[in-house]
Symmetry: C2
Subunit: 321 residues, 2 copies
């Protein structure tokens, strides 16, 4: 399973999305254009626009709206990453220098703001008011989630808290993309709701796998030290499973009291989690979400896009980065 198997039906269309994104800096300052070029070059597999294009094409949505939606979603995603990297002081993302590694914090704040503005312009250019509302509400969910995470005490081990966090952080935008693509197609409400749920399920799985890769991934390709979440006091699903199986582990017990600030203890805890079956249990949970997503596709008419969406869903739990 690789990216090619789900990208192939929309390879050309993704190029249109990228052109559309690039055009957002056309009237802006040359330095800002250069920054956007840099961000686009650093830019991943475009999973979100691919999801929107596949769902929309499957349901007969007009291509121009899907390209606009894809560019809006990916630009919104990029804007949140720009501010996130600034907040975290991250210097690398996907092996490339972050904007704040090259620019001053003020320029980075404003570049993120500019990308938010251009994403909102693109969303408005779909000429679809409910989509526009959904788009701004999703931005509010993402940012409120980040603020809540910032204000929540570190070291908290809570499944409820974890699910809320990954919804805000990741699943909400997948959900919005898939739902919006259906909304601009001639689909009935039941189909729109199915596609919303499809986006939600693969979005949740995507973030769970990200959190597993934080423990098991190849350090170079993840671009962060192993167990970086735990070192920052964030208990993700593997830690939660480990804590359930080992409630008296002293490192686990220390977490809510600031134990996560002790580097040696956290390195030991990361090793123990890696050696346990916690990441396997977390992966089973991610796979359950993918199974639910695949069930949603069952009643859809067979077509190249449905096959690609299946492959996209399966890729999410099989990816290595």
């Amino acid at each position: 399973m690789n990216a090619v198997t789900f990208l192939s039906p929309v390879t050309e269309e993704i190029k249109l999305v990228e052109e559309r994104m690039r055009a957002q800096a056309d009237e802006s300052h040359p330095d800002l254009r250069a920054a956007l070029e840099h961000l686009l070059a650093a830019g991943g597999k475009r999973i979100r626009p691919t999801l929107g294009l596949l769902v929309g094409n499957m349901l007969g949505a007009p291509l121009d709206k899907l390209v606009t939606l894809g560019a809006a979603v990916e630009l919104l995603h990029t804007a949140t990453l720009v501010h996130d990297d600034l907040i975290d002081g991250a210097l690398l993302r996907r092996g490339m220098a972050t904007l704040n590694a090259r620019w001053s914090p003020p320029a980075t704040v404003l570049t993120g703001d500019y990308l938010f503005a251009r994403a909102a312009i693109l969303a408005a250019e779909t000429d679809h008011l409910p989509l526009m509302k959904l788009f701004s509400e999703t931005l509010a969910i993402i940012v409120n989630g980040e603020l809540t995470q910032m204000f929540t005490s570190r070291g908290l081990i809570s499944r409820d808290n974890y699910y809320k966090r990954i919804y805000a952080k990741t699943a909400s935008l997948f959900e919005m993309t898939s739902r919006a693509a259906a909304m601009v197609s001639p689909s009935d409400d039941a189909t729109i709701e199915s596609m919303r749920d499809f986006g939600y399920q693969i979005g949740v799985a995507f973030q769970i796998v990200d959190d597993i890769l934080d423990f098991t991934g190849d350090q170079a390709s993840v671009g962060k030290p192993l167990g970086s979440d735990l070192h920052n006091g964030l208990a993700t699903l593997p830690s939660i499973y480990y804590a359930e199986a080992n409630p008296n582990d002293p490192d686990i017990l220390s977490l809510p009291n600031g134990g996560w600030t002790n580097n040696d203890n956290m390195t030991r805890l990361v090793d123990n989690i890696r050696a346990s079956d916690a990441t396997k249990k977390a992966m089973l949970e991610a796979e359950q979400h993918i199974d639910r997503a695949l069930v949603i596709l069952d009643p859809m008419e067979p077509c190249a896009e449905r096959d690609a969406l299946e492959n996209l869903a399966k890729y999410i739990v099989n990816r290595k980065v």
Copy 2:
């Protein structure tokens, strides 16, 4: 001329705008709600929502849309101030502690982002797609203006540059507010265009007066040291008039070469500008914009709102803070 004479027709409606703004934090984290309360308490004369309400009421727009528009515009304005204060490292605004004086930079970045998101939601709640587009485009103009200012070399004395800057910084939002209020009313295109121009003219005048007050204002109520723009290498209209009259002043000549970083020289230059007729010339220019705004009101039917708009326009050049 005081604020009462233009506020009186909409005093009750401004309260609705403030309630609407306050409600934007209802579902968010308690700390974020407290931050929004703080920002609202610190919040000025609500000139932008007042402008929208007066224009809209005069033209028969529905009140609910004007309240929504007013809250969207004021929240957008607040969001830009939150990021501005962070970027400038400002600790006080209107005599009250800024958010970044009390919060960490990450929390301040995210609070600004959240306010952008809520402003976009409000704009979408007007259910008016062209308004929504205008709203996002105005945000892009404001942010691109700030970025351009950041990338432009300091000490530049250019009238063209100055007018572009104050359009992006201030006039664009006044223009958008006045135009949008007309757009949601049953007005024809010519009236909408008149109201756009009205907002533009008073917005330009507003910023020119702000820039004059930076030289002549009461330091305590302006909340910044006198001539703070020049000390930051920004030549505003009084400096431009002074430079035109005194092209060989050594402090003026030093500006493009970094002379603005010399505190003693800039203090002397500020004194010289204050002693000259440069601020008077700048005020005449602001008054010309107000005169143009008043001419636009001439053909409108006499009514309380038209009178209040006249008073608002006159207040802008007579205010002391």
